[in-house]
Structure formats: C-alpha cells, structure tokens
C-alpha cells in the first residue's frame, strides 16, 4: 500500500500528464497562430476603411473657397462631432485656429491636443489627415478606438478558448496520471516480489480488468503468464532436485553405511580395511560433486533474495582469510588480508554463500598457485561498488580460457592432476550472479586476480 500514496513527483513523471501538457502547448500554439493571422488581417482592413472614410470627409470641406467660409463650416462640423471620435481643426494662415481640438506643429508634424471648450480626446490616438486648404491647414483625426476594441476582442477570444482547455486537459492529465500510476505501481510491486523470489506474486485482476484490453492490462496479463511459467519451471527444478537428491543420495547413503560397517568388521590395519576406507572416501567425493552440482543449479534457478541480510564483506573476508591462514602456511605459502580502508563494506546477501564463495577462491589459489602460494585478499569501496579481490602469483589462467573456467566441470590442462572437481569457480559465478556482482578474471602478472564488484548497500 505504501506505493499507493502518490507523491507529486510521481504524478508529474507520469506519461498521461506529460502527454496532456504537451497537447495543451500544441493547441495553444495553433490557436495563437490562427488568431494572430485573423487579427492582423482584420486590423489592416479596418485601418484601411478608417483611412478611406477620412479621405471622403475632406470632400465636404474642399467646397469652401476662402478661409472664412471654411472656418464657419469647420466650426459647425466641430460642434456636431465628439473629439473622442473625430477631431477637426483648421489652422488659418495667421495662426488662429478653429475646431474641437487644438493642434500644434512639432517638427513638421501636426499633433492633436485638447481644446478646453470641448470634451476629452480619444485615449487610443488618431489616424490623422493633414491637408493644405484655403491658405491654411485642415487637420482631421479619426479615433483609433475601433482598432483597440478589435485587439481586446481578440485577446478575450484567446483567453476564453485557452483557459478552459488548459483546465480540462490538466485535470484529465492528472486523473489519468494517477490512475495509470496506480496500475503501474501494481505491476511494479509484482515485479519486485518476483525478483525477491516470491514466485506466486501476480498482478491483481482488478488492475488488469480496469480498462479492458488497454496496453497496461495486456502487460499485466503477460507478466502473469511469465510469472506462472517461471514459477512452474522453478517448482519443476526443485522437484527434480529433490527427486534426484532422494533417489541418488539414498543409495549413496546405503553404500556409505555398508562400507562403514565393512570397515569395522575387517581387522584393524589390514589391507582390506584400508580398501574399504578408500572406497568410502571415493563415495564421499562423488557425493560432494553431486551436492555441488545441485547447489549451483538451485542458486542459478533463482534462490529467493528475501532472506538476504546486510553482510560486512570486510569482516567476512577477515574471518575467512584467518580460517585459511594456517593451511596456506602449511602449504609453504602465505595468505594476507590487505589492510582495508575505513568505511562501510556492507553488501546485501547470504553470509553463508558469500563465505563459501570466498573459500572456494582461496582454496583454488592454494591448490593451483604453485608450491608456495602467495595470496592477497582485498576489500575496497569504489564508487557504488564494494570490490572483493583475491590475487595469487601462480601460473594464472590464459585469457582465452577465462570464460570457460567458470563453466561447470571445466578444468585447465595443467590442473587436471591436482585435486578438485572443477566446480569451485562455477559456484563462485553462480553466487556472484545471485548477488548481482560483477565477476572478472584478470592477469596479476604473474598470477590471477579474481575481482567481484558488489553493489553497495
């Protein structure tokens, strides 16, 4: 249930919300472009019509032949017109002016100002037309208010069409995001459970049925099929292992029992008794090979990781190194734990399997690294990894054969005569795989370096 508590980041990262936001941006862009074009076209056509209108108006004034008559006409027109809509002014040659506005010439341009006897000017400015007439200048201005209205109408259209679409698509995106997030987390939980070895975990039917036949439902259904297949495979392997274990080990047990009994029946120190002891030892060897093969198969078949605990790899390396120190010295060699730097060497795993893995590496080195094996064990923290290294100064492994030695029962030509069953490194490989550790064999010049990179806790 922990995953069902949805955090903001998870919803923002969800595909549906991202798609909704993307779509929204696209709609906005299209709207902006089309409305923009319409606006520009409408604006220029209404500007044109205003200017044409302006020109037509001048016709009325052109009939006046002298300034006095024109002044009278302008005064009459000015009284009838609201300066906020239309400004009219006539400047006579002597500088006097009539009209509903007061005009001033500034650097060759006529600027419309307020005439205190008339109402206020247009706030949006004017399209002006200046015409020399009857020895003076006639200035007519048409307010730009229609253009400003046009602009605010377009802005209103933009806002009214955009805001609802933003709200609707954001709400839909969040809703779909949450819904998908829930269903994805059901699938993720199932995958986590499967990874941890709970092979009976399945995606809940409700999550698969929610939206009949959509992609998530199909993935969920397929995951269930896959999990069922894996479960039955593992179960079959377990069954086969148990059967083999029982059917083969029981006779082995009997052989061992009979040989032990035979041994006690025979006179002490006799050759026959020694033969019985040797036969017993051989039977034990066969069982050991068989046991190791079963163990590797079980580990590779998916041993559950849910019982993993934090293991201090540094401490474990110390223990195992100490365990083998005396044996290495007896073989005329030496095993040393390189001084480990302070800091956490914790990895998540099975202490017993990790111990066995390290033992196999050290036993290999003692066995194959010559008469006086010099072995160094190191544990170092590197970035996100804890690296375990076992070095020896023996003959090493030719590069071409480094991959093959990890296979079961593979033995190098020169080591065929030494004891061992060719399963040690295969087990190391299986344990490394179970722990998501990277296993590398390299040259110690001379000798072999086995490196295992574990993910750090």
């Amino acid at each position: 249930m922990r995953r069902w508590r949805l955090n903001r980041a998870a919803i923002l990262a969800s595909t549906p919300l991202r798609q909704a936001l993307g779509l929204m941006a696209l709609v906005f862009a299209i709207l902006l472009v089309t409305l923009g074009f319409a606006y520009v076209a409408l604006r220029s056509s209404s500007e044109d019509s205003i200017r044409a209108d302006l020109k037509q108006q001048t016709a009325v004034f052109q009939v006046a032949a002298n300034p006095e008559t024109l002044s009278v006409i302008v005064s009459a027109e000015a009284r009838a017109a609201d300066p906020a809509e239309r400004a009219i002014a006539f400047v006579l040659a002597d500088g006097r002016q009539v009209g509903n506005v007061h005009v001033v010439r500034k650097s060759g341009q006529w600027v419309i100002g307020r005439n205190p006897d008339f109402p206020a000017l247009s706030q949006h400015g004017y399209f002006t037309l200046v015409m020399p007439l009857a020895g003076g200048f006639l200035v007519i201005g048409e307010s730009q208010a229609p253009i400003a209205e046009l602009t605010s109408t377009f802005l209103a259209i933009l806002i009214f069409s955009f805001v609802p679409s933003v709200l609707v698509s954001a709400a839909y995106g969040a809703w779909a995001g949450m819904r998908t997030r829930r269903r994805v987390s059901v699938i993720e939980d199932t995958l986590d459970a499967l990874t941890e070895g709970r092979l009976d975990a399945r995606v809940a039917r409700s999550a698969i049925r929610a939206a009949r036949g959509d992609d998530l439902a199909r993935i969920g259904a397929r995951l269930n099929v896959m999990a069922a297949t894996q479960e039955s495979t593992v179960e079959a392997l377990r069954q086969v292992s148990a059967d083999i274990a029982h059917d083969l080990k029981t006779p082995m047990q009997r052989i061992s029992v009979l040989l032990s009994q035979l041994q006690t029946e025979l006179p002490e120190g006799s050759e026959a008794r020694q033969l019985a002891a040797r036969a017993n030892a051989e039977a034990e060897g066969a069982v050991a090979v068989f046991h190791a093969l079963l163990q590797i198969a079980q580990i590779e078949g998916g041993s559950p990781k849910n019982r993993f605990t934090p293991v201090d790899l540094g401490a474990l390396a110390g223990d195992i190194t100490e365990l083998y120190a005396a044996s290495a010295e007896e073989a005329g060699g030496q095993i040393a734990l390189a001084k480990r730097p302070s800091g956490s060497m914790m990895v998540l795993g099975d202490r017993s399997l990790l111990g066995q893995m390290l033992s196999n590496l050290i036993e290999n080195a003692i066995r194959h690294a010559g008469d006086a094996p010099q072995i160094t064990v190191e544990v170092v923290a590197r970035d996100e990894l804890v690296e375990l290294r076992v070095r020896d100064r023996g003959p090493g492994i030719p590069e071409a054969e480094r991959g093959q030695v990890l296979q079961r029962l593979y033995r190098l030509e020169h080591s065929r005569t030494t004891p061992g069953n060719g399963l040690g490194l295969a087990l190391v490989d299986a344990v490394a795989g179970l722990h998501d550790a990277q296993l590398t064999l390299s040259d110690n010049a001379p000798g072999l370096v086995v490196t295992l990179g574990f993910p750090r806790v």
Binding site: S241, A242, A245, H246, K249, T250, M252, Q253, R254, I255, S256, V257, L258, S260, Q261, A283, E284, V287, A288, H291, L294, Q295, Q298, I299, S303, P304, R307, D319, I320, E322, L323, Y324, A326, S327, E330, D350, R351, S352, L353, G355, Q356, S359, E363, I366, P419, G420
Partner: protein, 223 residues
Amino acid sequence: MKILLIEDDATTSDYVSKGLREEGHTVDALTNGRDGLAQALAGEYDVMIADRMLPELDGLSVVRAVRAAKITTPVIFLTAIGGVDDRIEGLNAGADDYLVKPFAFGELSARLAALARRPQAQAEQVVLEAGDLRMDLISRRVTRAGQEIDLLPREFALLEFLLRRKGRVQTRTMLLEGVWDLNFDPQTNVVETHISRLRNKVDKPFERDLIHTVRGAGYRIEG
C-alpha cells in the same frame, strides 16, 4: 537417552538404530510420517531424528505439528535434501539441527549429544577448567600447570568452545558452525590445521594430552 527415529530407508534406519543402541540409547524406529507423528505426540523423548521425505506425511509437516503441539523436544533432520534454502526451511519449521545425507555416524552422534544438552541454563561461568588447564574468561588468560599460554583470539575461541563442551565430541562442521559461524564444508582441512596449532600450544609442551581426536568423528577435550 530415549530417541525417536523416523526414517523410511531400512538400511539407514538399521544402521542409525544399531549405532545409537551400542552407545547405550533407547531407540524407537518408525518408517512413515503419520506413525512417527503419533509416536512423537504420545511418548516422551529426549531427542527426535526425522527424515524429510517420508511416506504418508512429510518430515516438515511432522515437525511443524510437533511444535504446534507445544512439544519442545529437540529435533534433527537427517535428509538427502541439502540445498541452500532447504536447511533454512527445515530450521524454520522448528527443527534444531540439520544433517545432510550421506552422513558419518560420528557426526550424527555428536550432534545428538549437543542437542540433548542444549537447554541447560548455564550459570555464568567465569573460569573453565580441564585437568590442569585453566581459562579465565574475564582476564582472558589461559594457564596450564601454572604456566601462561599465549593464544591468538581465534585459538582462544576454539579452546573455549571445546572447554564449554568438555567430554563431548565436537565434529569439524560443528566447530566451523560454532567458532567461525560458517555452515558449509570446506574442501581443505582448515579445522584440522587450527586444532593442530592449538595442540602445539596447549598439549605439546606438557606430558598429558587434553585434546583428543575421535576417529571418524571429531575432537574432544577431557579433564
């Protein structure tokens, strides 16, 4: 000791029964899980030995049922199923120990002896002794016949483990589990090497040997 043995393989059953009787124990041997469970619930045993693959009722179910009935008698599994998780599964079912077939009789015998003694509420001992050997657990000093013996930490732990179980055989695997906390069987004779080093310090300079090798089984310290 009164021992219940549930084992369907006649050869193994006879061998175990015979060996245990020779050691002076009383053995009731049964060949299927159902009878075994009935007998476990009825009789009072000091220790039980059970196979995991049994006809009628498997060993895990037998042990679970025994534990559900609040019977605390120590149980050891004696089984061919020896995978990584199987051991944990067996112990989780309520067994006290797990021995994988094929096994040596000495191993079984030593483990049974350890199990039967397990619940003893040991008074906090401060000094462990065997003959003229003395181990002071507080000052962590070891002396023999008044002579100081210098031991490495692991040698001290090994000697302490043996002294706490004075007179009882401890096998290689029991020592690996108890002293090193490892439950796998190394191919090399690591335990032997450690015992031999311990002997060099504890026994060699003196006349009488305290650490004894029990053939085919393990080691024992005697007073």
